[in-house]
C-alpha cells in the first residue's frame, strides 16, 4: 500500500456514463482490491475497484455518479493522477479454491472486480457469470458463460443450489438481495459499496454492521462473507 503519482495510459467511455481508465501501476492487486484516486480539486479521494491488471497497468471501470467521477473523465492519456493502494483485502482465492462451481454475480458497475476475479479463477473452476444492468450491458464480453438481466433482477437468473460458492458485487439493494438469496443455500463472498474517506481504516466512516460487530468496509473488507453481514438492519 503506497501513495504515488502515475501516468494515465487511456481513459475512454465504453457505454453511456461508464468509463475505463488504465493507469501505469507496476503491481498485481488481488481481485476485489481497490485504489483511492485523488482527483484534482476534490477533497476526498474516489475509491475504485480494480477491473483488470497485467502487472504493469491497472484498469478501473467507473460510472459517473457525481462531480469527482465527472472530473475523472476530463483526464486524458499522459495526464498524471495520484493514487493510493492497493487497498482492502479483495476476494480470498484460498477460500474459493475448494469450490468447483463458482457463480460471479454483479449489479451495475459491480461487474468491474468480476473481470479480474474471473481471470484469476480461470482453468481451475467452472465459472458462470450473472450480470444485472439498469439499461445497457458493459464489460460482459470479458467474462465467461454470461447471462445478463437488463432492468430486471439478476438474482432471478440462477438457482443457488447449482453452485458451490457465489462471489458478488453491486450496490446496496443488490447486496441485500444476494445475501438473502444465498443465505442457507450457498456460501457467499460479497464486496460492499460504501462511501469512504481515508480508505485505510482510520476514519471509520465506511462502517458496516456484521455479526462480529461493526467492521470497516475499507480495511476489514470490502469483501465479506454473506453470513457475516447484518443486512436486515441496514436502511
Amino acid at each position: 500500500m503506497t501513495h504515488f503519482k502515475s501516468r494515465i495510459v487511456c481513459n475512454a467511455p465504453i457505454v453511456q456514463d461508464v468509463w475505463l481508465m488504465t493507469v501505469e501501476v507496476p503491481e498485481t492487486p488481488k481481485a476485489g482490491q481497490f485504489y483511492n484516486l485523488h482527483v484534482e480539486g476534490e477533497l476526498l479521494p474516489r475509491p475504485l475497484s480494480v477491473c483488470e491488471s497485467d502487472g504493469e497497468t491497472v484498469t478501473f471501470a467507473y460510472q459517473i455518479v457525481g462531480k469527482g467521477t465527472k472530473k475523472l473523465t476530463k483526464l486524458s492519456e499522459n495526464h498524471t493522477i495520484a493514487l493510493t493502494g492497493a487497498l482492502g483485502n479483495g476476494f480470498d482465492l484460498d477460500a474459493i479454491r475448494p469450490h468447483r462451481r463458482v457463480a460471479l454475480v454483479s449489479g451495475g458497475i459491480g461487474i468491474a472486480p468480476m473481470v479480474q476475479l474471473s481471470k484469476q479463477l480461470a482453468g481451475r473452476h467452472e465459472v458462470s457469470c450473472f450480470c444485472g444492468f439498469s439499461e445497457h450491458a458493459y464489460l460482459v464480453e470479458k467474462l465467461p458463460n454470461v447471462k445478463t438481466a437488463i432492468g430486471g433482477f439478476v438474482t432471478d437468473l440462477f438457482d443457488a443450489a447449482d453452485f458451490d460458492i457465489v462471489c458478488a458485487c453491486g450496490p446496496k439493494g443488490f447486496t441485500k438481495a444476494i445475501v438473502r438469496k444465498c443465505a442457507g443455500a450457498v456460501p457467499l463472498l460479497v464486496s460492499l459499496d460504501e462511501h469512504m474517506a481515508c480508505g485505510v481504516g482510520a476514519c471509520l466512516v465506511c462502517a458496516c454492521k456484521t455479526t462480529n460487530g461493526v467492521k470497516r468496509c475499507c480495511a476489514d473488507g470490502p469483501v465479506f462473507w454473506g453470513e457475516e453481514l447484518a443486512i436486515d438492519n441496514e436502511q
Binding site: 485523488h38 476526498l44 462511501h195 481515508c198 485505510v200 476514519c203 471509520l204 460487530g213 461493526v214
Partner: protein, 300 residues
Amino acid sequence: MTMNNEQLTIAGVLFKNPVIAASGTFGFGLEYCNFYDVGLLGGICTKGLTLHPRQGNSGLRVFETASGMMNSVGLQNPGILHFLEHELPEMRRFDTVIIANLGGGTVEEYVEGAVLLDASLVDIIELNISCPNVKHGGMAFGIKAEAAFEVVRAVREKCRKPLMVKLSPNCEDIVAMARACVEAGADALSLVNTFKAMAVDIKTRRVVFDNVTAGLSGPAIKPIALRMVYEVCEAVDVPVVGMGGIMCAEDAAEFIMAGAAAIQVGTANFANPHAALDIVRGLGSYKINEIRGCIRHGKT
C-alpha cells in the same frame, strides 16, 4: 526533525516538531505506518476514546461538501480498557508524543476515563468536550463555559497527566470557553473541532444524516478556525494547539503566526496520506520561534 535548535514543550511534554495528527483522522497511527514512519510526527492524537466501547452512528457517516466534508461517526471506539491493552502498546513503539483523546457523557464518565488514562503510558490527555455527533459525547460540555469549567475541574482534580482541552467552535463564546477551561486547570487548549452542519438530499427530500447534523471539517472552515485560534491565543497564557482545515505547511504557518504553539492535521490525511509528514517537512523552512505569534501585539 528538529525545529531550528529550539525545543517545543507543551504542558511540560517535549515535541520534536509542532505537527500532530488530529483525533479521528489517524486511527491509532498504525493505519498510516504503511506510508511513512509516523514517529516523524510531533505527536498523534488517538481516535476519541470513551469509558465503554461505542458502535457509532447509524446511516451515512460521510458527505463531501465544497472544500470540506461532514462526518457523523459518533465516537465509535473500542473503549479505554481495550485501548490500554491492545492499541496503546503498539502506539508506544512510535517515537512520538501519544495523546489520548477522551470523550464522555457525564462528568463521572470523564473522570473515570481520565483516571484510567492517568495510570497509563499516554503522554497527554486531550479532553474532548466538543464532539458534535453524539448527544452525550461531550458536546453539552462544549457549549457553555460553566459546564466546561465543571468537567475540566473534576478531571483535573483526579488526573496528574498533562491535560489539553479540545474546544468546539459551536460554543457560545470561544474566548470565555477558553478562559473557563484554563481557570479549571487545563495545561493547554486545542481548537477547533468540527462545525455543526447539515445537508439535504434533494432527490429523496430527506436529510443526509440519521442524526440530522454532522461535523464539518476541511479547508472550508480554516478562516474561521484561524480567527478563533487567534482570539484564544490573545486571551490565555497556556499553549494553544491550532487546527481546522490545515492542508499544507503554509496553512500551518498561518496558525503558528496567529500564536499557536503547535498544529493538528486532520482531514488533510484523507486527501493525501502523506499530508502530515509533508507539513513537518514544509515547516522546516520556517524559523518557528520567530514566526510564532508574529501577527500579535503589533509585531510584524
